[in-house]
Structure formats: structure tokens, C-alpha cells
Symmetry: C2
Subunit: 340 residues, 2 copies
DNA sequence: TACTAGCACTCATAATTAACGAGTGCTAAT
DNA sequence: ATTAGCACTCGTTAATTATGAGTGCTAGTA
């Protein structure tokens, strides 16, 4: 159990260290207005805090820095989540509205806003389109041997793909195939189209059909349509300003990791569904991020669950500000409606 | 005028420096098999080369390093362009074929191959779709108030966009508008759609029409379709292995510059149209790339002019290998046909 | 004349040492 | 329970010294 004063000291150490990135000494602390004790008294308490594992010293004659356990305590006990500053939220809403025409834009804007607000790097992931259901398939001929397949999802997303046939295709064959696809696949989540069509085709014994090759080509093209995951990175260059990332050895793993879109997407998707979650230092289990903390949150848009947004900074990040800004932005997003 | 031996020495210095990134001394050179002169003799020639501005010394007691003028001489006189190794080119063709289904993929693959081959960073730009001409506009309804506009270009590119109308739209109004767009805009380069439609709409005096708002909405959506420039970056992390980019001060400008897609695209587009062009050090005029050299080339695909590809490395780059690999890849691309 | 051996000189780099000072832990006094 | 005082630690910085790779120049040789 921490005494009142120890709590004050812990808090002061972390606040100070967050700002300066330098170990904090007892004398520095005793000069603060909110700590009217002598440096010796503070030293005693610091020794206790160190015994409890909340702070540590880089070496004998340096001040103390918070340990991961210390940050954890700080975040759990001393950071208030969900304090909404109405004026600020309103301002964010206004900025978001400018981009409310397309969800892509909105995601970018949210990520950019959050990184501007905090000076950390942000990653935002849009809705997982693999879960959206097929609402409609259509086809539009370009010339005798080419055309465009279109798919529309229940969320109103559209994707297309050009198909090139081996030979000339009769319009009625195309029409029939499209009808078939609509009959059999509407309502199927995009992620399962390929599996689903296997079953259906097997049932139908299409092999006997005229123009089997062309039909199959059309079908394969349709189920092979890629829905790009809408991932957006904001404020990547902020990392260059962090004192703990001033050497190649620390910078390189971070940059290489963040540039790997695929992995980043999987990571975001694998995060537990929560409102605002803080992962401190090595807690995240990613080697490249062992000196980083991450604040993540799922967000909703116009009430509907939409995606995930994350903020990545050094372990010595400003948790209070970060958590608050994250709260603001997801609240602003919640209140924003897509224009459609 | 350079003597035979001075040429040999210049070449040896550059070859050596390219490999080691260390200033080259006279004794080191005299130990080479192809330079059977005493170090003193070499020193004399080095002094001459320095007077001519081809090499320089970082400080009195170091060896020599090539100057930008020296590299220029080397590239212009000692690097053979267009030496095609048929077997290697064939191998590249094979690898490219795997991705010949879509031009996007092909561009990625070409950039990746080139960066794997050279260990430098590559940037590839696809065709400038602003120059492609509109071949066709079409519309597909989703529900009463929404639908998808499609445009097809003369190169077979397809783009789409969702349109949301203010109110219910009669199918014949849509049909008419689409017909109008096709009549008036087919053949117009995508980059000029907006200007063009202004003129046409003015002529037509649509204002009197029923459902004017919805028609305009459809028209605006169509001409507002963005054609994403297909830019692809390969081997970005190669830069981390270059000894001249081991400090934040050199690394940061490079990474910040390369991450700015927009600027990168403009830069590539602004390059002079040539087959293989080498820009050495500060020649490129870009501050962030003042210590980089760039090998650029336009490339053709299946005979048609297609885009630009660039290779970026430190000024101390392996020009011979770089130029040769660039030659191979554009030759391989020239021989590749898109599957359509 | 063209080349080479030899030598004094230069200067970045690495290693060593010394001075500094921020910070600590402990003890004794209040 | 708190604080003043003091000896001690140890990372950082500056100053000093060696080291050696490389140079330019001169004088000698083929």
C-alpha cells in the first residue's frame, strides 16, 4: 500500500520523466511546489517505491525512472479515462465533418487529427470488409472479350475487377452466370466467398455446360476480388522527435515494423475489443515495440462498430493526455454521421 | 586528358570506394594486381587527378574519395549501358510473368525485383492515367437513391464511385445523363474532364431540366472520380544497411522525403524522358537526396510507353551494376505482355 | 625522362587519465 | 517522523597522449 506522499512522489517522478526523458532526482522533486518535503525524506520514500518495483535507477548516481510496473500503476490509478471536454470534442467533430463523405477519408482524418493532437504515431483500421456480406454482383461488358465485375456489399461498399475471357462470350451466358452468383452467394461474408463457391459449383455440375471455361473464369474473378483493408498511418515522422529513438538501433526496428502493412493490419485486428486499452512497454509482446506503449480503442461511427485506432509512442509517453485525446476522438467519431 | 594509368587509378579508387566506403590510399592501390606501380607513382597521379577535380581527400592524412565530378566521369566513360545478359533477362521475364495479370502487380514486382537485385531503394510509377482518354461511362443502381458510376479508359482501366442522390431518381433521367456524358466526354483525357464538362453543361442549358440537381450530382461524381496514381516503393529498408545513413541526421531527411507519395510522384513525372539516366549526388537538386544518386529510366510494356522507374542509393553507389540491372529490367519489361 | 625508395610531416581515431557533479544511502540531530 | 549533513558512487566531459594510415617532397636509379 502506498502512503499519500509516496503516491504524490510516484506521480511527480512520472510526470517529470515524461516531460524531460531524464532520470529524476530527489532534489529536483523537493523543489516542486506540490512536494514541500526535504530531499532526504523524498529519498526515503523513493527507496520504498523502488523496493516495490515501481521505479528504478539506471545506475547508482542517477535519479529514478519509472518502471513498467510504475507506469501500469500510474495508468490504472492516476489517469482518468473518459473525461470529455465538450468544446474540444465539438471542434474535433467539425474537423471530422469535412471528411465525412467517404469512410476512407474519415479514417485518414481521424488518424491525422489524433497524431497532430498528441505528436505520436497513429494507426487506424477501417471496418473489416471480410465480414461484410455480399449484396449484389453485376457485370458490365467493355468489349467482346472483356468486362467488369462489380460487387456491392451490405454496407454499400463497391469493388470491381476487370475480366478477360479466353474467347468471345455470349451475353446470355454471362447473364446466367451472374444470376447464378447472385442466387447462390448473396448474404455470404466476403471472406468466405471462395469456400462457398466451391460447394455450390460442385452441386451444380457445371462441367457439362457450354462455355464452361468462360463461366468459371467469371466466377473465379468475382470471388477473387480483393477488398483492400483500409489502413491508415498518421504522423509517422513524429517518432523522429522522440529522444529514445535517436539511434538507428532503436529507430530501425520501429520503422521496419510500422511499414509492414500486412502485419500491422493483423495486429490491429487481433487486439481485444475494448473501449480504451493501454499496453505498456513490453506488455504488447512485439519485439520492435518493446520500448513503446500503445493506446488502442475500437471506435464506432454513427453508432455502428467500425474499426480500431491505435496510438504508438515511447513507453515514456504522456498517458494522461494520450488517453484523453483518444477518448475525445472516439467520442467525436461516435457523433459523426457518414453522409449517405 | 587522362593518361592510361590515371584512368586505371581513377577507376580503381572508385571501385574500391564503392565497396568499402573508406577513403582509398596509394599503398592499398599499389597492392592491386592491375596496378603494378609503386605507391609513390600512384601518389603523383592521384595528385594530378585531384587537381583535375576528379577525386578529393576528406583530410590531409586520409586516402582519396571520388568527387561528384569523378563519379560523373566514371559513369560517362567507364560504365557500359545496355549490356544485356540474355539468360538473366530471361530469368527476370519469367519472374515478371507471374505478375502479368494486372499492371499494378507488374509494377510492384518490377520495383521489388530491381531492389532485390541491387539492394537499393526503388520507386516505380505506372502510366499517368490523367492522360488516358475516357472510353465509356456507365451506371449501375444499388437502391432507389444510390448507385455506382463506372468509367473505363482507352487503356482498359476501370474506376468506380458510389453516388448518393438527394432524392429518388427516375431511371430514364439517369439513362439520359449517362448518354449525355458518353456523347460529350468520350475521348477526353481524364485530367481534363472537369474543364470539359463545364463547357458542355454551359452549352446545354440544363438548368431548365427536371431533376436538375440529381443530374448534376451524377455528372459531378463522374468527373470527380480519382484515378489513383500507381506508385510503388520497393526495398525501402535497404537504406538502413548503407553506412552513410547510419545517423538520424542523414536518415531522417531521406525517409521523410521518400514517404511523401505526392511529391515523389511529381518528381518522377517531372524527370526527362530518357532510356537510362544517372543523376549523381547533388545533381538532382533535392536537398534530402544530396548524398544520393539516382538511376532513372522510362520503361515500356509490350512496346507501349508505360511509366518511370527509379533506383535510389548513396552517391557511392555501384553504378555499373545499377545501370546494368536497370537495363535488364526495362528490357524484360519491354518483352513482357500484359495478359489481356 | 619516368619511376621509385625514403623520410618528415599531418591529422583523425582510440585509449588513458583527471576533474566534475548530480545523486544516493546512511547517520545523527531535531 | 522529518531533516541536515556527509562520504561515496559513477556516468559524463575535457584534456592528454599514443598510434598509424596516408601524404608530399626530395633524391636516387633504370
Amino acid at each position: 500500500m502506498l502512503t499519500e506522499r509516496q503516491l504524490l512522489i510516484l506521480r511527480a517522478i512520472i510526470d517529470d520523466y515524461i516531460q524531460t526523458a531524464q532520470p529524476v532526482g530527489s532534489r529536483t522533486l523537493s523543489k516542486r511546489d506540490d512536494l514541500s518535503f526535504s530531499s532526504a525524506t523524498i529519498r526515503n520514500d523513493m527507496a520504498d517505491l523502488e523496493d516495490m518495483g515501481l521505479i528504478e535507477k539506471p545506475h547508482t548516481s542517477a535519479g529514478r525512472i519509472p518502471s513498467e510496473v510504475g507506469y501500469r500503476y500510474y495508468v490504472d490509478h492516476l489517469v482518468e479515462k473518459r473525461i470529455i471536454d465538450e468544446r474540444e470534442t465539438f471542434r474535433l467533430e467539425e474537423r471530422l465533418k469535412e471528411s465525412a463523405k467517404e469512410s476512407e477519408l474519415l479514417i485518414r482524418q481521424a488518424a491525422d487529427l489524433l497524431s497532430d493532437l498528441t505528436n505520436y504515431t497513429t494507426v487506424a483500421l477501417g471496418p473489416n470488409s471480410q465480414m461484410e456480406k455480399l449484396a449484389r454482383v453485376d457485370f458490365m461488358p467493355i468489349d467482346e472479350r472483356r468486362g467488369v465485375v462489380l460487387i456491392v456489399t451490405d454496407q454499400g461498399h463497391v469493388e470491381h475487377r476487370t475480366v478477360v475471357f479466353e474467347s468471345r462470350v455470349a451475353p446470355d451466358i454471362i447473364e446466367e452466370t451472374i444470376r447464378l452468383l447472385n442466387d447462390r452467394l448473396v448474404g455470404t461474408p466476403l471472406g468466405q466467398l471462395k469456400i462457398r463457391i466451391g460447394e455450390e459449383v460442385a452441386k451444380l455440375q457445371l462441367a457439362q455446360r457450354q462455355q464452361y471455361d468462360n463461366m468459371m473464369q467469371l466466377i473465379q474473378s468475382t470471388v477473387g476480388i480483393q477488398t483492400p483493408s483500409s489502413l491508415y498511418l498518421g504522423g509517422k515522422k513524429n517518432i523522429f522527435n522522440q529522444p529514445e529513438f535517436q539511434t538507428i538501433d532503436t529507430l530501425r526496428p520501429f520503422l521496419e515494423w510500422i511499414d509492414e502493412q500486412e502485419r500491422l493490419t493483423h495486429w490491429l485486428e487481433s487486439l481485444p475489443n475494448r473501449e480504451i486499452y493501454v499496453s505498456i512497454g513490453s506488455e504488447n509482446g512485439i519485439v520492435a515495440l518493446q520500448n513503446c506503449s500503445v493506446i488502442t480503442s475500437d471506435y464506432t461511427l454513427d453508432g455502428k462498430t467500425f474499426g480500431t485506432i491505435a496510438m504508438i509512442g515511447p513507453t515514456r509517453m504522456n498517458y494522461r493526455h494520450g488517453v484523453q485525446m483518444m477518448g475525445q476522438i472516439i467520442e467525436a467519431l461516435r457523433r459523426t454521421k457518414l453522409e449517405e
